[in-house]
Structure formats: C-alpha cells, structure tokens
C-alpha cells in the first residue's frame, strides 16, 4: 500500500499529470481508501514542491506542473472522495475563484498564482480571462467560495476590477465576498481606492493575504 502512495508523491513532484491520472485510477480500481491516497500521496508531493519553491530550489515550471498533476489526479478521485464520509478529504485551506477581468486576456500572472495557491493547499477555481463580475460571483456561488481574486495587466483594464466592487454593491452582496486584486499596474493605493479587501504584488504576498482573509468568513447570508 505504501508503494502506491510513494509513487503518487513522486509523480506529483515530477509534474507528470498522465501518471497522476493513472495512479488515481489504480487507487479506485484497487479500492484503496481515496482519503489516504490524498493525504499520503498527493498532498505529500505538493507540500514538498511548495517547500522547495519557497526555499528557492524549485522554479515555476516545477510548481505549476506539480499543481497540474495534482489537479488531474484529484479530478479522478473527486467522485470517490464525495462518497467518503471522512469530511474534508482534500484537506484544503479554502476555495478561491480566480480570473482575469473583463477586457483583459493576459493570464500568465493569474496562472502562476493559481498554481502556487494549489501548492499551498487551497482549492482554486480558475474561470479564465476576460471575465465579467457576474461570472466571478456565479462561480463562487456554485462552488461555495467567498474569496474572489481578480487580475488585470493593463492600465486600461484596471477599472474592470472596480466594476466587480460596483457589481457586488449594486446587488447588495458586497459583504458576502472578499475581493482581492492584483496585476502589474495595480497597487495597494489602487486597492484601497476601489475598496478591495486585499492586494499583493508577488505570489508569496498574495498567499499571505488570502490566508489571512480565510481566517474569518465574511458575513453569512
């Protein structure tokens, strides 16, 4: 039993998404407890990659490919995990909806943060680029997330971040969500100006900001 967990851990570290799917299928076929596979395999692997990245030994391709492999494997295990009564099987720290704002199709920064959040054991729902405020909220409600992360690279699309705040206020749901903003031309000053709940320049800071927000849920509806 311990061998397959070791294999899963190794394949996450290698960033091998095909092998991750194969091993996840094997977990199901051989009726191995999926919760154990997550804790002793997938999470062990992503933790090691995350730690190596923090210490400067691993680089973005290592982390991002590990996150992809993790996601691929977890997708296979998801139905089995849902049937488990062990509660929070994926051990995740919370859910985040992330996307690039309306009018902007740049996504590298967003993709990097998504991967690093995954490596930090958050559950990330990436809705892609050029996304309206409605889409952020729709996804959040669908998955039960209350943190929205909106990226903008252009000075001309930053105002779409403000439009998310406006949308939340217009619909009287501002206090149901935390909104964090980021991207090249943004700043703490900008975040304050538009009334966002957080801002970060780097991924390390973003993870800290999100972790702090996750401590307290916003007001329940």
């Amino acid at each position: 039993m311990s061998t397959i967990f070791e294999e899963i851990k190794a394949c996450i570290i290698d960033g091998d998404d095909e092998l991750a799917v194969e091993l996840a299928e094997k977990v199901i076929a051989e009726k191995i407890n999926p919760v154990d596979a997550v804790h002793q395999g997938f999470i062990k692997g992503i933790e090691e990659v995350g730690a190596a990245w923090t210490s400067g030994e691993a680089f973005l391709p290592d982390v991002m490919m590990a996150a992809d492999a993790m996601k691929a494997g977890m997708d296979v295990l998801e139905p089995a995990l849902a049937n488990c009564d062990k509660g929070d099987a994926s051990d995740n720290k919370g859910s985040i909806v992330i996307g690039t704002v309306k009018g902007d199709i740049h996504d590298i920064g967003k993709n990097i943060l998504s991967a690093l959040l995954t490596a930090a054991k958050f559950k990330v729902y990436d809705i892609g680029t050029d996304q309206s405020p409605e889409n952020f909220v729709k996804k959040a409600d669908e998955v039960g997330a209350y943190v929205l992360a909106a990226s903008a690279l252009l000075t001309t699309t930053m105002k779409s971040q403000k439009e998310i705040v406006d949308y939340l206020e217009e619909n009287n749901i501002r206090d149901k969500y935390y909104l964090i903003v980021g991207g090249g031309p943004t700043s703490q000053h900008w975040a304050d100006e538009i009334g966002a709940d957080g801002w970060a320049e780097t991924t390390e800071e973003a993870i800290k900001v999100i972790s702090n927000l996750m401590v307290n849920k916003p007001i329940e509806d």
């Binding site: 680089f59 199709i105 740049h106 590298i108 920064g109 000075t155 031309p185 991924t203």
Partner: protein, 475 residues
C-alpha cells in the same frame, strides 16, 4: 559610424527564417479583429476563424514592399529624423504606470510627471525624440489620456514624438492632431510625422486594440513599430532560438498585415523579447539574454530590409544604483553596436518597464552620450587627425597639454560627462554624493533652465480646439 556587429552567422539567420516560415504557415497567427482577418483573407491567405495561415512566398513578397528607411518629420524640420541606415534614435521609456522616487518609494505617475519627462527629453542632446506614453498619467481619465499626451509632446518640445495605439479611434485622434500640427492629413500622408507602437500578444496573437491602431496608421501613411515581447520560459520557449523564431513570426505577421493595408507603409521591426524570472514569473529585462535577442533582432531586420526597434537602458533594479547602471549599460551598448535604429526605453526605466525614475533618466542620458561617442569611432579623415606633425613637434619626453592641436581637438574627440564623477578622492569624500543624488540635482537644474520652443499661436489654438471638442465627446 562603426560597422554593425553581427551576432548570428548567415546560416543561423537562415535557420531562424526557415523556422519562422514553418510557424507562420503550419501553426498560424490569431487576429482578434474581423477587418484584419478580412484583409488577409482577401489577399489569399488561408483563414480558419481568427487564425491565419500564411503562405511563405506571400510573406516574402509583402515584406519586400516595406521601405528600408524613411524620414519621420518633426514640427521643427531641423529635428526630422532618418529611421534606418546608420541612424540611432534614443527616447525615454514608454508606458510605465509608476514613478520610483529618489528615496526608493513608489507612487502613481501623473500628468505633471509626463510633462517633466517630455521636457527633460526635449532638453537633452542625446535624445532625438521625446518618445510617447512616457508614463501613464493616472490622474487623467483613460478616455482622454491620448489627447493630453499628444498635447504635451507638441507644446513642450519640437522633436518627433509617438502617437496612441490604443484602438482605432484614439489612434486616429492623435494622427489628426499631428495633421493639424503639420498643415493637413495630406501633408503627413506624404511626410509621416507620427509613429506608434503595435505589440503582438505573445504567443502568436494580435488583439483588437492593437489591430485597430495598426489599421489607422497604415491607412493614413503613418509609421509604426511592430513589436513582439517574448518572455522566454513563459510566453515563449525557454530556448533562445525558439523564442527568437516565435518573435520573428509575430513581427513578420504584423508587417505583412500593414503592407496589405497600405503597400509601402513605413514599419519598424520591433523586439523587446527577454526572459522570465523563473522564481516569480516576472519579466526580466536587464540581462545578457535580452541583449542577445536585441542583437539578433537588429540583424533579422537587416535581413528583411526594414529598420529595427529594440533594447534600451533596461534594468530590473528598483532605484538608480549600481545594478541599474551595469544592466542598462550592457543592454543599451549592445542595442547600439548591433544596429538598432529606434530605441524606445533608452532612458528612465526601472523594474522591467513598470516604473520611470527621473534620476535614472539622467543616468541613462549620460550612458546614451557615452555610447553615441563610442559609435563615432576613430576619425582618420585628415592629417590633422593623424597628428603626425604635433607628435613630431613635441618629440620624445614632452607633453601635449599646451599644444594648439590639443586645445582645438579635445572637445571634438572626448566625451564630456555631465554626471560622472572623475574627480579625486578627497573632493568626493567631503560630500560622498552617489549617482542617485547627483542625478536628482541634475534633473532639477535641467528643468529649471528649460525653455520650450515656441509653437505658432494659430496652430496651437487649432490643436486646443480639436482636443477640447474630442474631450467633450469622449467624457
């Protein structure tokens, strides 16, 4: 001028060209703007949705149509510029949203910063243009920024400047303003006065905004830089040869489109390709790889027979320090030695294009002056320059300080620093002023003494009238 340094062998240029042709014909490029796709379709290119697959003979035929050099016209004809051939044109940075201050703080850039930077560029003999979008004036509403920026270049200097490339409508506004400045749209159609920056969206895409602007400039006969910034390792392959091929494909696709719209329209082959910092994913521009991309781009532009834009005083440093100095000098020197003609970002840039700094602008002004001197090389055009007679006159064991020959020639031959400290230790030690502080004093003094060249009152009134009218329509 010095001979241009070739970084690639002919065989290597051909290898990049072949790889590029394969990318363009087998993978294709996406144009997110229907009219642009239509133009290419009409010209017989294979289209699938927004994706265009290019025919290689067609690419070569269209690139042939682009001029190898052209003249960019300034409101003061003395400041007209040849773009191409042996020319090299320096100007301040483009598009930074932030100012980094002398004490290492960051703030949003404003219109006041914009005007000051244009004036500093106007004042410097090392900058042949005042640039464009020298910072993002964040205190001006987005809808009318392009109008205010054009106005700043026109009233604060009489050098050439750049127009807007944020969509067809705004591009056209700035072209019309240039038209008023030069006496009519028909005048500037014959004598291009405006140049803009068209960027691809790497990998292998052009967005609607940029394509709209490209069409406005091509229709009105204005010049444009068509540039690609491949971030090797993230938006492009991590191999230098792969990233260069990707860049080349994007730039050629843009040039082909411009030539389809208006054959012979002046275009500049642009590159700002560099690498990704693989820990953070950030762009990194002050490095040997960036210099290699710039050098190879100059050579590729020569191969295709069009002028080249690339490089600059580029750095990832956050303040005007040693790192800012050595990185900027490396990139600007290699930019200049390899035959880049049009150097945006020559001055002021910090932190991979995110910020401008007044102190850095002054340091880069000095670097630009040093490089321009270096490029002049040795003057051996006369017996006087060979100096045999004066060597004979002084003979063994004498000195040259009191020779007329020396007095006459040293100012022509030596670069005179405006910022560098060449003094002795004791004098320096009294105040221990570092370059960052010295540069601050320098720009304040230059601004104090700057007097903008006068603009004809009638023309000024017409431009102001146009701008006011557009403002009322846009806000």
């Amino acid at each position: 001028m010095l001979p241009k340094f070739d970084i690639l062998t002919n065989e290597e240029v051909n290898k990049i060209h072949e790889n590029t042709m394969r990318i363009l014909s087998e993978i294709g490029v996406e144009f997110e703007f229907e009219p642009a796709v239509e133009v290419l379709k009409k010209n017989g290119q294979k289209v699938d949705g927004n994706r265009v697959y290019f025919d290689r003979d067609f690419i070569e035929e269209m690139i042939e149509k682009a001029p190898s050099q052209f003249i960019l016209h300034a409101r003061n004809p003395e400041n007209n510029l040849v773009v191409g051939d042996d020319s090299i044109i320096f100007m301040p940075g483009y598009g930074a949203p932030f100012i980094h201050t002398v004490d290492g703080e960051r703030r949003d850039a404003t219109m006041d910063d914009y005007n000051k930077i244009v004036k500093l560029a106007g004042a410097s003999k090392n900058f042949q243009m005042t640039g464009g979008n020298v910072v993002e004036p964040t205190d001006i509403p987005d809808e009318i920024r392009h109008l205010e920026m054009s106005y700043s270049h026109i009233i604060n200097s009489d050098k050439c400047y750049m127009g807007s490339s944020t969509g067809y409508e705004r591009a056209m506004d700035t072209i019309k303003i240039a038209g008023i400045l030069h006496g009519g749209m028909d005048v500037i159609k014959e004598k291009p006065a405006l140049v803009c920056l068209i960027n691809s969206l790497t990998p292998l895409k052009y967005d609607q905004r940029m394509l709209g602007a490209l069409m406005a400039y091509a229709e009105t006969g204005q010049a444009m830089v068509i540039a690609s910034l491949v971030m090797a390792g993230s938006t492009g392959p991590a191999t230098m040869a792969g990233a260069l091929s990707l860049q080349n494909a994007e730039v050629l696709a843009g040039i082909v489109l411009a030539q389809c719209i208006s054959p012979g329209t002046p275009v500049i082959y642009g590159s700002t390709s560099a690498i990704t910092d693989m820990s953070s994913g950030a762009l990194s521009i002050g490095n040997p790889e960036g210099s290699l991309f710039t050098s190879a781009s100059a050579q590729l532009a020569r191969f295709y027979g069009v002028p080249c834009r690339g490089g600059g005083g580029l750095t990832d440093a956050k303040i005007t320090d040693g790192q800012a100095g050595y990185e900027s000098m490396m990139v600007l020197l290699t930019t200049s030695l390899t035959g880049v003609h049009f150097v945006m970002h020559a001055a002021g840039i910090l932190q991979y294009f995110m910020a401008m700094s007044y102190e850095k602008l002054m340091m880069d002004d000095e670097i630009a002056g040093m490089i321009l001197r270096y490029l002049k090389g040795f003057d051996m055009s006369s017996d006087e320059k060979m100096a045999f007679d004066v060597i004979k006159k002084v003979g063994p064991g004498g000195h040259f300080l009191t020779q007329k020959h020396t007095r006459k020639n040293f100012k022509e031959e030596f670069f005179m620093p405006a910022l560098s400290n060449r003094g002795a230790f004791d004098t320096w030690h009294d105040e221990k002023i570092e370059i960052n502080q010295a540069a601050e004093k320098k720009w304040q003094k230059v601004l104090e003494n700057y007097k903008a060249p006068e603009l004809d009152a009638n023309v000024k009134a017409k431009i102001e009238q146009f701008i006011e009218k557009r403002k009322s329509e846009l806000i």
